[in-house]
């Protein structure tokens, strides 16, 4: 028997440990870990190592910001001009003053919605649209409000549009003689009704001084010579039209009366002026005296 210990011939068989290591190496789970888990781990470690330092993080953020800035300030994205369309000179100046960015500015910095809100907040502006046109032009399309009446308040005279928005103050009535005057509390909230009343009052237009809102619910038509037409809360136009018909047929308004009261639609009432009343009394007295005198 040869020695069991030392054998000069090389053994083709793997040693116990290499066999075990190879078997361990061929374990499917290990394979999966090495193929998927290890690369993920390496990437995560690398990223964590870079991110871990605060300075480096700031550097990265700055460089990203810089790159972003570079792209944003390319000439393709710059806005050079502000064009205002459909606005009067005053409003245009106001819009230009209001415009928050310094031109030229990058279109990324311009918040179109905010600009539109700013412009719409201006009193004389009814509608506005803001858009970027090719060639770096920011176009603001404005539709201005049209004043339809003068609103007299304690503070003075103001122009007011159909929606009841006070536009500008004016110094005196004569500045806009073409516009009617309205007054009273809450007059601005029912301008549309006032306009329709004024339209209905066309036949007596030269006598109408203005409209007064009473108690925030109904209108008075103020005529010259201190006359007033008190209109009801509901269907005031119809009531006014009846008064006008009466005025045309019976010259109602030409007479010496101070108030035509139509607040109760079924029972229109008139109030004579003081002088007419006393005259009426006097005439009645005289005729009574004459009768009694004849009788005597």
């Amino acid at each position: 028997m040869r020695s069991l210990k030392s054998s000069t011939r090389t053994d083709p068989a793997p040693s116990r440990w290499s066999y075990r290591v190879q078997r361990w190496w061929l374990t499917p789970a290990l394979h999966k870990i090495l193929r998927i888990g290890l690369p993920i781990l390496l990437v995560v470690c690398a990223v964590a190592g870079v991110i871990g330092n605060a300075d480096r993080r700031a550097d990265i953020a700055a460089s990203i910001q810089d790159l972003r800035r570079q792209i944003e300030t390319r000439p393709e994205f710059m806005v050079n001009l502000l064009a205002v369309e459909g606005a009067s000179a005053v409003v245009e100046t106001e819009i230009r003053e209001l415009f928050p960015n310094d031109l030229p500015a990058s279109s990324f910095d311009i918040d179109l919605k905010a600009i539109r809100d700013l412009i719409i907040d201006l009193a004389p502006v009814a509608e506005a649209s803001v858009r970027l046109r090719q060639g770096g032009v920011l176009v603001v399309n404005v539709k201005e409000r049209v004043p339809v009446a003068i609103w007299r308040t304690r503070g003075g005279l103001a122009l007011i549009d159909g929606d009841g928005v006070a536009l500008t103050l004016i110094g005196q009535r004569k500045d806009r003689p073409d516009l009617p005057v309205i007054a009273g509390h809450g007059a601005d909230r029912s301008v549309a009704e006032a306009i329709s009343l004024l339209q209905a009052a066309g036949p007596i237009a030269e006598r109408v001084r203005g409209l007064i809102r009473v108690g925030e619910r109904r209108w008075d038509v103020v005529l010259d010579r201190g006359q007033r037409i008190l209109l009801p809360e509901h269907k005031p136009v119809r009531a006014l039209e009846r008064v006008i018909v009466l005025a045309e047929l019976q010259d109602l308004l030409g007479r010496d009366l101070s108030i035509v009261d139509t607040r109760l639609t079924t029972r229109p009432t008139i109030r004579l002026s003081q002088h007419a009343m006393s005259e009426l009394w006097r005439i009645k007295q005289t005729s009574t005296d004459q009768k009694t005198g004849v009788a005597e």
């Binding site: 053994d11 083709p12 068989a13 793997p14 066999y19 190879q22 078997r23 361990w24 061929l26 499917p28």
Partner: protein, 444 residues
């Protein structure tokens, strides 16, 4: 019987689990080579759909993904003679096969050829009382078999029910669901030396593997080398291995007899080595290149350089004619075949309806063997090669791999064995509890 029953059942469960997991290795521990195949079970549906492919005699459903062969060491006559050497050889084969398969294998099914297999035909009968036969009745009839005294130190390797008979109707493959009074069974039992099994189990365990099944090499060689009708009609498969020549007789697709002669190809090599005074490696080379058993006139002129490394010019330049080589080989081959003949005669092979004999194994590749075998064994002799299984490398398709390929079939489609049936209910010690446990295990 019960403890072995338990261990066989454990192995069967392990095999089932391994197949469930998809990878199992088969290991053929032979005298001249150790072959290892790694099988992947991936369901047979993929092949079933293919046009014109049938069940493929049961070899569909798995695929060979790794194959390796190594020269066997420490194995003599199909039994392990030097544990360390054998363990290393198994390790070599397994490592190479794993490397090729790129997957780790944990379960291995092994076969070996030696360990003096001995066949027993046993019978059992039980009265089932004119009801339909159910699985329990089969268990009862199997346990009613009178097991012969096969001696201490031996273990049952296979115990397969071969034939069932119900009353007077015999030849039933599966009596379940049929009605009858008396159920009887014929079983074939194969016992081998327990030490051989233990040695092999120990070797496999030392390689960090689980032994998930054991088979006799002669049996599995028959599974792969015999075609279906030969298995059905009756045939003998002669596995001419290195150290042993296994004989297995098949009838009705069941093995009914198995034996092995402790003489094989290594003895031929030995004879050449002795006769020509050359080392064994040279003798093996000469045998495989120039060997034969039928000499012709041409062979007298066919000179073979037999070489040598002694430094003696005359000795190293010797030449022999092929006829001389055949003259050395032929007596030994005749002896092997006569040994086989003796065993077949002892088994009563001549009474079989069809006496086909199939020679396989590495020894069957000797040129002219079929002619010689015809003279000794009978007229119906053919040389068998193993079935072609999916993914088997070209190098492993030769006759020498018959039992290796047969192991694949054995792993994929094992035949029913005794321990595949449950023990009859009345042998349960704590019957209700165990049934409850089993019910739980089956349902969850």
């Amino acid at each position: 019987m019960i403890d072995f029953y338990a261990s066989q059942r454990a192995m069967r469960n392990m095999r089932r689990a391994a197949i469930q997991r998809g990878v199992v290795a088969v290991l053929d521990v032979g005298t001249s080579k150790i072959a290892c195949l790694v099988l992947r079970f991936d369901g047979s549906d993929r092949l079933r759909d293919a046009e014109g492919i049938g069940a493929l005699a049961g070899q569909a459903g798995f695929r060979v993904i790794g194959a390796a062969t190594t020269r066997s060491r420490g194995v003599r006559y199909g039994e392990i003679a030097a544990m360390n050497e054998t363990e290393r050889a198994i390790r070599t084969a397994l490592q190479a096969a794993q490397k090729m398969a790129q997957i780790r294998v944990d379960h291995v099914i092994a076969c070996f050829s030696g360990a003096a297999p001995r066949s027993y035909g046993i019978a059992g009968q039980v009265n089932v009382g004119d009801v339909t036969v159910c699985e329990q009745d089969i268990s009862r009839v199997l346990s009613s078999c009178d097991v012969p005294d096969y001696g201490t130190g031996r273990e049952v390797l296979h115990a397969q029910p071969v034939n069932f008979a119900l009353d007077h109707r015999s030849g039933l493959g599966d009596p379940r669901g049929q009605r009858g009074e008396d159920l009887s069974v014929d079983m074939h039992m194969l016992t081998v030396d327990a030490t051989a099994i233990q040695n092999l189990a120990h070797c496999v365990k030392r390689c960090d593997l689980e032994l998930a099944g054991l088979a006799s090499s002669a049996y599995v060689a028959g599974l792969s080398a015999l075609v279906e009708d030969e298995q059905e009609l009756g045939a003998a498969c002669i596995d001419l291995g290195g150290g042993t020549s296994g004989v297995s007789v098949f009838l009705k697709k069941h093995m009914i007899f198995s034996e092995s002669a402790r003489v094989g190809g290594d003895h031929i090599t030995n004879d050449i080595s002795l006769g020509l005074q050359v080392p064994k490696a040279t003798a093996e080379r000469i045998k495989t290149f120039y060997g034969g058993v039928v000499a012709t006139g041409m062979d007298d002129r066919d000179m073979i350089d037999i070489g040598g490394e002694t430094g003696d010019w005359e000795h190293d330049r010797r030449r022999v004619s092929r006829a001389e080589l055949i003259g050395i080989m032929r007596p030994r081959v005749e002896e092997i075949l006569e040994q086989v003949r003796k065993r077949l005669d002892a088994a009563g092979f001549q009474h079989l309806p069809c006496q086909q004999i199939v020679l396989t194994g590495g020894g069957s590749q000797i040129p002219g063997l079929d002619g010689l075998a015809t003279r000794i064994l009978g007229q119906q002799v053919r040389i068998g090669r193993p079935l072609r299984v999916h993914g088997l490398p070209q190098a492993a398709t030769g006759a020498g791999f018959a039992s290796t390929v047969g192991m694949c079939l054995f792993a994929a489609h094992p035949q029913d064995e005794w321990w595949d049936f449950d023990l009859p209910v009345d042998t349960y010690p704590a019957r209700s509890l165990k049934r409850a446990v089993r019910w739980f295990r089956d349902n969850w």
